[in-house]
């Protein structure tokens, strides 16, 4: 193990090398976890403001300028509320579930590269790590639903398994696309491979699939079946109160923004932006770009009604899963052909190397891949349109039939 930076300073100060290394890693871990936890306080304010504007309200505006301190007031309220554990609940699991829920999201931030010099850890298997850690969130919600000993909570937990486990499939297939293009599972390499051209231009369809399935993974509208307020009262978190309830919500708010950051890292070029490149500016680019998918996610959440469970399942298994598989196959095939023609920049070993290529070198490859994506989408959009209009005609006929029947009686 190497010992640089803070570790080196501590060692020179007379600390044991092992302890110095441990301390420097510990400080790094605390910092990386603190970033999302502090961010979420302001995210709650932003989300409430945007939701209010969309619904023609003002939103929080009493505590502090523009209601900025409202979240702190809410936090204090949640902290001093009575902490209730239902008498028939499974005490250990009931209390462990909110912690696991927040931890599952915070753990993702370990592999997010903020700038070329600031990141938690550069895992060789970063993308796989993300998928593995994200699956822990499902476990947290299931545990909460079961341990509450409440039928609505259990129903919410049942829906979680159906929803989250099925939407993981298109999510992983969409994740495969940047991994294939970069030739590495490391988040760092994926960002570096986008130095010349962002993957969103090469694989817009993969980004769309990733966005839709990550929206489902967070359990946000139109996929908010987990906590469908009008059907399950609040779903899996019905028995929770005080800060334990707050932790579930912090996890959800944070998960939405985390997905924005991941989309930025995987498809929108991470810290890269044409022109200005400096460490701290790079951090700002990442944040600004992450706000685009984040804002669209909030926009959808506040304008689209909830789908039924069978509609959600049909949409996934008959639409997203086949589409994501076709997308990966077409991309792999085209990249192979383009490599034979010589339109893909390669290194001396013959492997694909996008990291050192310039914008102009990548342009022909990007155009071909973009057109392939459009060609995949066209028949699908046409099919969707036809299915929609057929459904509508059938509905109208049924309604007319019912009216005629009623008049006949």
């Amino acid at each position: 193990m190497d010992c640089t930076g803070l570790c080196e300073v501590l060692t020179q100060g007379g600390t044991d090398p092992g302890l110095a290394q441990f301390l420097s890693i510990l400080i790094g871990v605390v910092l990386v976890v603190s970033v999302p936890l502090v961010t979420v306080i302001f995210l709650i304010w932003i989300e409430r403001k945007i939701a209010a504007r969309i619904q023609d309200r003002i939103g929080p505006n009493r505590v502090g300028p523009f209601g900025l301190v409202q979240t702190f007031a809410d936090l204090i309220k949640l902290l001093i509320k009575e902490d209730i554990t239902p008498a028939s609940a499974d005490r250990l699991l009931y209390n462990a579930a909110p912690i696991l829920s927040l931890a599952a999201v915070a753990l993702i931030w370990a592999v997010v590269p903020f700038t070329p010099y600031h990141f938690g850890v550069d895992l060789e298997i970063g993308a796989l790590y993300f998928v593995a850690v994200a699956s822990l969130g499902t476990l947290a919600i299931m545990t909460a639903g079961w341990a509450s000993n409440n039928k609505y909570a259990l129903l919410g937990a049942f829906r979680v398994v159906a929803l989250l486990v099925s939407y993981e499939i298109p999510l992983v297939f969409a994740l495969l696309v940047p991994v294939m293009l970069a030739g590495s599972m490391s988040m760092f390499d994926i960002v570096n491979a986008q130095a010349g051209m962002w993957f969103v231009f090469m694989a817009p369809l993969a980004m769309l699939l990733f966005f839709i399935s990550s929206q489902a993974e967070t359990g946000r509208a139109p996929f908010d079946l987990i906590e469908a307020e009008s059907e399950l009262v609040a779903g899996f978190n019905i028995e929770y109160s005080g800060m334990k309830f707050g932790m579930f919500f912090a996890a959800e708010f944070l998960h939405v923004f985390t997905n924005g950051v991941l989309i930025t890292v995987l498809f929108l070029g991470g810290w890269y932006f044409p022109g200005w490149q400096m460490p701290l500016i790079a951090f700002m680019w990442l944040g600004l770009k992450a706000f685009i998918p984040y804002f669209i996610s909030l926009w959808i959440r506040n304008t689209v009604p909830r789908l039924r469970i069978d509609q959600v399942m049909r949409f996934n298994w008959f639409f997203l899963v086949p589409l994501s598989i076709v997308n990966v196959l077409v991309l792999a095939f085209l990249v192979m052909i383009l490599k034979e023609i010589g339109w893909v920049p390669v290194d001396e070993t013959g492997a694909m190397a996008l990291a050192d290529a310039t914008f102009i070198e990548l342009l022909p490859m990007t155009i071909v891949l973009f057109i392939s994506n459009v060609l995949i989408c066209l028949p699908i959009i046409n099919r969707l349109r036809r299915t929609g209009s057929d459904d509508r005609v059938a509905d109208e006929q049924r309604a007319q039939h019912a009216i005629a029947h009623a008049a006949g009686d």
Binding site: D90, L92, L93, E124, I125, L128, V131, S135, M142, A157
Partner: protein, 178 residues
Amino acid sequence: MIQFDFSTIAFFVFAVLTLGGALGVVTNRNLFRGTIWLMVSLFGVAGFYVLLSAPFLAAVQVLVYIGAIAILFTFAVMLTRSLTRLNVRYTRLWPSALGAVLLFAMLVIGVIWPVFGGNEMYSLPLSDVVRTTSDLGVALVSGEGYVLPFEVASLLLTGAMIGAIVIARDADEEELEQ
């Protein structure tokens, strides 16, 4: 002797997680809690993979065993709510218990003895076949690597799947058809 650096401490933490979780699985009367303990145990095993410089296996361990298989376990347990408060005691399985203890003793002796016996022949070095993920992929399908164990394992899984279908199949179905 054992040096007490941080990887040793990590080893003992993961050992406690793995063995404690396993103990929780077999001693718990509540099946849901049992599956949660199983996940703790599997998580400890993932930690061992990290300590053995196999992060890919660790991630797959968490993804497949905790994220998929154990979640299906909990789902099945939740559907059978009466199984969460087990009162049945199995007291007539002494031969099986004896067999399990004997097997455990053999494994302990077989694994621990060479390590403490100081026999250099058994202190195997870490495999130099697998360095990166692509090396792992090549090792699994190349004739010089582990293609035979890989195929045998897949055959075993197919057999298990067919067996599960045969067991789960309703016997009344065929009778109804006749």
